[in-house]
């Protein structure tokens, strides 16, 4: 039978102290979307469940001129209610609209979605193109990690067992508004992404001055397509460029075959989603 223990720290400091003390025995619990299914599937057993969902100081959406700060315990619903997110951080907002289903959004947290590190985590691609930085703390110290360096492999991140995400920082730049998120799922709600893309771009005089592309469900982790970005920057976007970029996208992804789709189809779709995102944003940039 399972031997779980439970503790619900009221402050961040208390949580970090517990993590430092118990380390690998701990499992952080916030929105709890996956904990019970993992226990049921025997992926999790005999842990100290550290329930941080009551730490109110980790739930916030703050903005100043330079940056947006999001607390890791902010739920998907709370993020969707934020006018700032909706108006200024479009790829993130669009991802939230397609996240799971409205009921799950009430408890699922942005920090939890990242820390769980599913290759299909829907908040990851938009946060990658927004160049999010994670504030990660343990009892002794604090470090900043760029999201692009956060994911290691499916369900594994650079988080040590005495660390937790305490903040997400996004620079408040104009490029964030011209963004989108497109997801392909097997149905219109409660769908694990088969493939997803987030993109932001800026153009001037018909040439692309900046672009960031991230994809999900197409590799062991969500990832940025730097080589495609480099290829596109400075170019005038026409059909030949798009075609060549699509090929590069196809070469950049490393999808698997599973019960949802084959790797071939996923590779094919990656190009389609890329083309659609790019066209949509180019048109949007034109006004």
């Amino acid at each position: 039978m399972n031997q779980f223990k439970y503790i619900s720290p009221k402050t961040k400091e208390e949580a970090l102290r517990i993590l430092n003390l118990e380390k690998s025995q701990t499992c952080l619990v916030a929105g709890c979307s996956n904990i019970l299914p993992y226990i049921k599937d025997k992926i999790l057993s005999d842990k100290l469940l550290v329930d941080i969902s009551g730490i109110k100081t980790l739930k916030f959406i703050k903005e100043n001129n330079e940056n947006l700060y999001i607390g890791p315990l902010t739920t998907i619903s709370e993020l969707m209610d934020s006018v700032i997110i909706r108006e200024k951080f479009s790829p993130l907002y669009q991802a939230l609209e397609e996240f799971a289903d409205p009921i799950l959004r009430n408890t699922a947290t942005i920090g939890g979605n990242l820390a769980d590190a599913s290759p299909a985590a829907d908040t990851a691609p938009p946060l990658l193109v927004l160049k999010a930085e994670l504030e990660i703390e343990n009892q002794e110290s604090k470090r900043i990690v760029e999201l692009k360096d956060f994911f290691i492999s499916p369900r594994k991140t650079i988080l040590q067992n005495n660390e937790m995400i305490t903040g997400i920082k996004i620079k408040n730049t104009s490029i964030n508004k011209n963004g989108c998120f497109i997801k392909l799922g097997l149905r219109q709600a409660m769908a694990i992404s088969l493939a997803s893309i987030a993109m932001v771009l800026e153009s001037k005089d018909e040439k692309l001055t900046d672009v960031r592309i991230a994809m999900g469900s197409l590799a062991p982790t969500p990832f940025r397509l730097f080589n495609v970005e480099d290829f596109l920057i400075g170019k005038r976007i026409d059909e030949i460029v798009i075609e060549e970029a699509m090929n590069k996208v196809g070469q950049s992804v490393s999808p698997i075959s599973d019960v949802r789709a084959s790797d071939e189809y996923r590779r094919y779709i990656s190009g389609i989603l890329f083309k659609r995102a790019l066209n949509r944003l180019i048109n949007q940039a034109r006004g």
Partner: protein, 767 residues
């Protein structure tokens, strides 16, 4: 019929409020003091010889009260019976094995090997883990076409994996093809799908004060008390089934699920025992809808007239027989659809494989046939450059025609091509979208489906109705209620006949000892069979009342009616006798105001299965569905924009209920067409939970427009037919035909996933 009649009115169901308040106790909501919890220990391999089962560690775990294996089952192997009182041989019965036996072959992953009863679910689960099983792994066979070949691995104890063969021959097929001006051929592959009812299998058993075994279970068939009694070696009258309101059945709760298990554990421990399946257990270990491979060849003249139809069906039965023979017969009889074809040859082979067994599922072989023949009709239309509706009009049966397979003459009304025309018209003008990547397509499909069981089963149903002294009514019926309003309908019928307001009717139901047996809630038979039984019982009471009231009012009985609790003179309603007064007078005169009536379906013998001819079903329901889809030709994603469902229901006894069946059937079919695939690789299920097994959500489901034709031409009460299964017919091929219309691509393998559509499109050089 006058407005005061309840029949035809959209009155709310009697069980609706209890479901809304949550007061209704389903099978898992019921506890008894001292109750134990059961868990099933299941095979981890799809094909193996069971060498040994060591339960010693499990037995000695604290809190475990019983661990049972096949040795502990009085009769571990019996013959499956499906609720009829008659013995049906002729290949329609199969082996029912409760637990796997040492020295015998295990046939599927999840096959039950041992049972545990413990003081908590957690302890029972732990005990299951402690059971040590030795297997000798065997290769197994998973593909039905491979399993049919001589020398294939044998799934069971017989020397062939072929369970049954069926055939229908009409005319001369070779001559037919020779005379054809065009010939088309195709092959379709249809997977296993799951019922995906929201309520997992559940039940509780206990011994009452007299040692009678009581089983309270979510089941479509309470007549299984006989089978469980056989398993336990008890007299039939010592096993009582109490059926609960079912949280969805669709055929998945038609076979015995938990009952034998809990019964055995209760007999052993003398305690109440409850078993509830997890969703994963339900998905992977209860029956599936048969997968089919269908090869069709159709020959026609250039004017559209079909002269020859040949079909070869291979049905994937999975590991055990269960209802496979029946599904095979249904598919065979349906294979030529509602079309008049002079030369027909159907051959069906049902094959065992080391997959989860297939058994009943709404539609029962008829849908699989419908997918084949309605896809072929559109292909023929394409070949002949004809309109899909036109080709159907030219070939379809009309009232009085005979089925091209069995020759059974349809004497009741055939609403074709009317239903297809109405459904098509209901679609309206094609939606216009500006996106160049989205192609709009419209498609239609029509078909037939039987209602009522196969006539050689000699089906019957009984219902009891009684008028109380205060004018309230009691109804008793063994009818299981799946959520289709089965029980409420009987109350509505009886109340309507006797002029009693619906709130004064109380139904007692689904108890194999205390309510008259009404037969299975399957085969779209309850409106027809139990509806007629209720009507018959109510009419007997009605006649008694009218005869007595006629004496009192000094008129002829045929001048009287019962409306709103008054026995009125039809031509002068100011002359009346209050119903309670009429009841009083009857009681004082010793006239009975109760009746238990039996209704019999037509009875036939078992047909010659090599060439099935004559009546096999009491009647058929006819209908059509039309669909509009938007196909993204770059991603392959299909969005269903419009669905129109049109059926001849004979008479809509409760229009809301009928609409509900049609709306639900269409959306369940949407899943079948586009997302559902109970995929199994080497015997291992790939979709063991609702994360992988995808059914439609609200956002995937368009508003289904329903059109009811009320021809009055049914065998049910007031001319009703049945709608439960027919409503699930036609939707899949209509979607496939719409996809074809949008993209020019014919999907041969469902579900028509985005990937399959793109792969087909690319073959045809469309981007």
């Amino acid at each position: 019929m006058s407005k005061s009649r309840l029949i035809g009115q959209a009155i709310p169901r009697q069980d609706a409020w209890a479901k809304v308040t949550g007061d209704l106790k389903y099978a898992d909501d019921f506890s008894l003091p001292g109750m134990l919890y059961a868990k099933v220990c299941r095979s981890k391999h799809p094909a193996a010889l069971l060498i040994s089962v060591d339960i010693s560690k499990a037995e000695s775990l604290k809190g475990v009260r019983a661990v049972l294996t096949a040795k502990d089952v009085p009769r571990n192997e019996t013959v499956t019976k499906f609720g009829q009182a008659t013995d049906v041989r002729g290949g329609f019965e199969g082996l029912y094995r409760v637990l796997a036996e040492e020295g015998k072959k295990i046939r599927y992953i999840g096959e039950p090997i041992a049972l545990v009863a413990a003081e908590s679910e957690a302890i029972a689960e732990k005990a299951v883990e402690l059971i040590e099983i030795q297997y000798e792994l065997l290769p197994g066979v998973f593909d039905p076409e491979k399993a049919m070949k001589p020398g294939a691995y044998l799934v069971g104890e017989k020397n062939s994996n072929i369970v049954n063969e069926f055939g229908c021959i009409t005319g001369d097929i070779d001559k037919g093809f020779k005379a054809s001006e065009v010939i088309i051929q195709d092959r379709f592959e249809i997977p296993f799908i799951d019922h995906a009812y929201l309520e997992p299998e559940a039940g509780i058993s206990w011994l009452d004060d007299y040692g009678t075994l009581n089983i309270r279970v979510s089941t479509q068939v309470i007549e299984h008390f006989r089978d469980v009694a056989e398993v336990l070696n008890l007299p039939h009258n010592k096993v009582r089934y109490i059926g609960t309101m079912i949280g969805g059945g669709f055929g998945g709760k038609e076979d015995i699920t938990v009952e034998s298990f809990i019964a055995l554990l209760t007999l052993k421990t003398k305690k109440p025992v409850r078993l509830v399946y997890t969703r994963e257990e339900s998905l992977t270990t209860h029956c599936k809808k048969h997968g089919f491979i269908e090869k069709y060849k159709i020959g026609a003249m250039k004017n559209g007239k079909i002269v020859a139809l040949e079909a070869h069906y291979i049905g994937n039965a999975g590991a055990y027989t269960y209802l496979t023979p029946w599904v095979g017969l249904y598919a065979t009889v349906s294979a030529s659809g509602p079309y008049k074809i002079p030369n027909v040859k159907i051959k069906t082979e049902m094959v065992l494989t080391n997959n989860i067994f297939a058994s009943a599922f709404r539609g029962f072989g008829s849908n699989q046939a419908n997918i084949g023949y309605e896809s072929m009709m559109d292909e023929l239309a394409k070949k002949l450059n004809m309109d899909p509706l036109e080709i159907r009009k030219i070939n379809c049966m009309r009232t009085g025609d005979a089925l091209s397979t069995t020759g059974q003459i349809i004497k009741t009304y055939i609403a074709l091509p009317e239903a297809a025309e109405k459904a098509w018209e209901g679609l309206g003008e094609p939606t216009v979208l500006k996106d160049k990547n989205i192609k709009i397509g419209q498609g239609v499909a029509m078909g037939l489906m039987s209602y009522g069981r196969m006539t050689f089963l000699r089906d019957s149903s009984r219902c009891y109705v009684k008028l109380e002294t205060d004018g309230s009514m009691i109804l008793r019926s063994g009818i299981p209620d799946l959520g289709g309003g089965q029980i409420s309908l009987l109350s509505q019928i009886a109340a309507s006949e006797l002029g009693v307001p619906i709130h004064k009717v109380k139904a007692f139901y689904t108890d194999s000892m205390l309510t008259p047996l009404a037969g299975t809630t399957t085969a779209t038979r309850q409106t027809y069979m139990s509806g007629n039984a209720a009507l018959k019982a109510a009419k007997i009471i009605r006649n008694n009342i009218l005869n007595k009231a006629a004496e009192v009012l000094n008129v002829n009985p045929d001048q009287l009616d019962i409306i709103s609790e008054k026995v009125v003179v039809k031509y002068d309603q100011s002359q009346y006798l209050a119903l309670t007064e009429a009841i009083r007078v009857c009681n004082s005169s010793g006239i009975e105001l109760f009746s238990e009536a039996q209704f019999n379906a037509p009875f036939t013998g078992i047909p010659d299965l090599t060439n099935i001819k004559g009546m096999t079903f009491p009647d058929f329901a006819f209908g059509a569905q039309a669909v509009e889809v938007a196909v993204d030709i770059e991603t392959g994603v299909v969005k269903v924009l419009k669905i129109v469902s049109c059926y001849d229901v004979g008479k809509a006894l409760n229009p809301t209920s009928v609409e509900g069946q049609m709306e639900g059937g269409s959306i369940q079919g949407l899943g079948y067409a586009l997302t559902e695939d109970f995929s199994i690789k080497e015997g291992i299920p790939q979709t063991p939970s609702f994360t992988e097994y995808i059914i439609p959500t609200s956002l995937d489901s368009p508003d289904v427009k329903t059109i009811m034709i009320e021809s009055g031409g049914g065998l049910g009460p007031y001319g009703a037919k049945g709608i439960g299964e027919p409503s699930f017919n036609n939707i899949v091929p209509a979607i496939l035909n719409a996809i074809y219309d949008a993209t020019g691509v014919r999907i041969h393998q469902i579900p028509a996933t985005a990937e399959r559509i793109i792969r087909s499109l690319k073959k045809e050089n469309l981007k």
